[in-house]
Symmetry: C2
């Protein structure tokens, strides 16, 4: 049963909007159903109650009791048009494919938000730049709302310098470090992206409204939630996975003890992105969380400046500007260290980075860096038990 | 030709003093000759000019032209007695055997001071505590002379807290971080050791004279150089190897860019001691060197407090208070991780820590920690190509 293509496309868009109203974005079951049957069919199935996941069924029932999803989506799309916001879905050219890496993300934290770690179904976008190109060379700068003047200064400076090197700076639009990162980028005339945990029509916090307007003009304000959605507390954690996935790396500038920053960094690393942390005075409560991460996670990297950040993420960016052509060509063009790592990988099965380091006689840090690059180049893939050669590169 | 034992002992002591006047302490050739033939015979050989090392021969000749080594040693020993300083040599009960690890130290830096990295021939000591027991549970706190108030505060605090846990704090007696470390320990009524690069009769810098007097009363002032020796510039680097070797670990609190701190840390790690670094504001010039080390050396550990320092070195200290009895007993009593590492080591030959991590399926950090412990327990030894089982533990 295939209808008019244009109508199908519009139905798909509206269905995605309705789905993010029925269940939180990133919902594991919803996303899986959409992958299998498409958004429109998934929406009908959810509304009819034909879903094994009882919690999801109950949640959908509670929503449909207060409104008709089709109608809600229609209203949201109309309101967005008036606001100058557009909807971006995976079939659009400007879809930022990097966020699809969330499809393979598995986290072993047992927390309740782990339901909601799958890729977004859609993005609402305010601002003129294409979403994909804007995020291609991007770094996230995040941190405490109750930032110190030290943290604010460092975040502003770093964002300013990154913008000067044509890097997009992502953040969450919050007070403190987030706002400093956005403002530093704006001051440099660069592009910054605010990723919201509510509708793009209701900037949160309200105190940053003027800043959001400027970001929408000079960069992008984006969200997975429909126009009108409220910034509920649990949505910030769901939102954070997009900040981690959409960027080449995340920098934490200040974080209090036992803040969510360590979890953010685990997620960043699980996505094989660069996890970077700015240290501070050991006497400052706002740097305790940063030092906790640096002490607890050997893969988190201490950075002191935009220069250090570029040293981490720079290669990937430069690599992307000159994409390699085919697998054979790719493998021939890799540097010597990468070649050693590729040679050390078994034809079938996986190796851990530690095993590769020992086999290739390289340091663990070198191996981890090269693996990021090799993954971007599509030469290796991340699997359950470790790293494997990408299918195309397997001999025979 | 064996003389009266007591006379032999006195001749050995005087010869060691004379040798440190003829050549700098730690001199590779001199130390090797002393190991082979004893101090008295080495002294006669040096004076007679019967040495293949032409630079050493020239240096000795220049010295003997201005004074008689025997006479110089005699005067130094007499002056020391008046001053209340004593000479400690390897045959003494209070010799701190940990410094003998310098016998195996190899550094790949190509610098000129690498001549002078062998164990001390003797120590001059001011203060009542036995040298070995004082250094058994000890940590070094070192850093910039031009320290900031932040660095001074952190060093003082850390030393105070370590002293409260009965740890001895070593430092170099300089202005800035060194003095703060000594003073923090003194304030806590703890034991601190100033390791000088000149005679113990001439405290350097003079501005710290009163502090040195207090250290000599409450802790120890020690040096390898004879009474009267001047604090020549190159002597500080030679002295630093003793601070690294005599302690369980070294903490760098503040260091300027491209200071000697990174080299110190390489030495600390080459000796398999704990290399610890206190971070600071990235905006502070006095923390640049600290961040350089943390970024450049994956084995250097970020520490924010005495608590963190004790987490690093604590186990060794606790281990030493309850020494295991024999090799069999020792191996049985090791924890599970250590047992995995011992099992992963080849019966003959060596493994690198990276190889052990892969084989034992442990993180590199865990392996490095356990290896320190296993080395202290005498179960493994450090060799040219990596780690090996200690001879007694080799099967058969």
């Amino acid at each position: 049963m295939s209808g008019v293509p244009e109508f199908d496309d519009m139905a798909d868009r509206a269905a995605r909007v309705a789905l993010t109203w029925l269940a939180e974005p990133g919902h594991r079951t919803v996303w899986t159903l959409v992958q299998q049957a498409g958004a429109a069919a998934t929406l009908e199935r959810l509304i009819s109650g034909d879903i094994p996941d009882s919690r999801l069924r109950a949640a959908v029932k509670a929503r449909t009791a207060v409104g008709d999803p089709h109608r809600i989506a229609e209203i949201a799309l109309r309101r967005a048009e008036r606001l100058g916001a557009r909807l971006v879905v995976p079939s659009d050219d400007e879809w930022p494919t990097r966020v699809d890496d969330l499809a393979g993300l598995e986290l072993d934290t047992g927390g309740r938000v782990n339901h909601d770690i799958r890729p977004p179904l859609c993005f609402w976008v305010r601002g003129g730049w294409p979403l994909d190109a804007t995020l291609e060379r991007s770094v996230a700068i995040v941190g405490a709302r109750a930032a110190s003047s030290y943290g604010t200064h460092v975040a502003t400076d770093m964002a300013y310098a990154l913008a000067g090197r044509e890097w997009t700076v992502l953040s969450g639009g919050a007070f403190g470090i987030d706002a400093a990162a956005h403002r530093g980028t704006l001051a440099a005339g660069g592009r910054t992206v605010a990723v919201l945990a509510c509708g793009v029509d209701r900037p949160y916090p309200v105190g940053n409204s003027a800043m959001f307007e400027q970001i929408a003009e000079q960069g992008l304000v984006i969200s997975e939630w429909p126009i009108g959605a409220e910034p509920l507390r649990h949505r910030f954690l769901i939102r954070n996975r997009v900040i981690a996935a959409a960027t080449a790396g995340t920098v934490v500038v200040e974080a209090a003890a036992r803040s969510g920053a360590a979890q953010t960094m685990n997620r960043v690393l699980a996505l094989n992105r660069h996890a970077m942390v700015v240290p501070g005075p050991v006497t400052s409560a706002m740097s305790v969380g940063c030092h906790e991460i640096l002490r607890g996670n050997p893969y988190a990297r201490l950075v002191t400046s935009a220069f250090d950040v570029l040293e981490e993420v720079g290669r990937i960016g430069e690599y992307l500007t000159d994409p390699p052509r085919g697998p054979e060509h790719r493998r021939d063009s890799v540097d010597e260290e990468s070649a050693l790592i590729l040679d050390a990988l078994p034809p079938r099965g996986t190796s851990t980075p530690e095993e590769l380091a020992a086999a290739a006689r390289l340091t663990l840090r070198t191996v981890l860096r090269r693996l990021s690059l090799l993954e971007v180049a599509g030469l290796v893939v991340r699997r359950e038990g470790g790293i494997a050669l990408a299918p195309k590169n397997t001999p025979g």
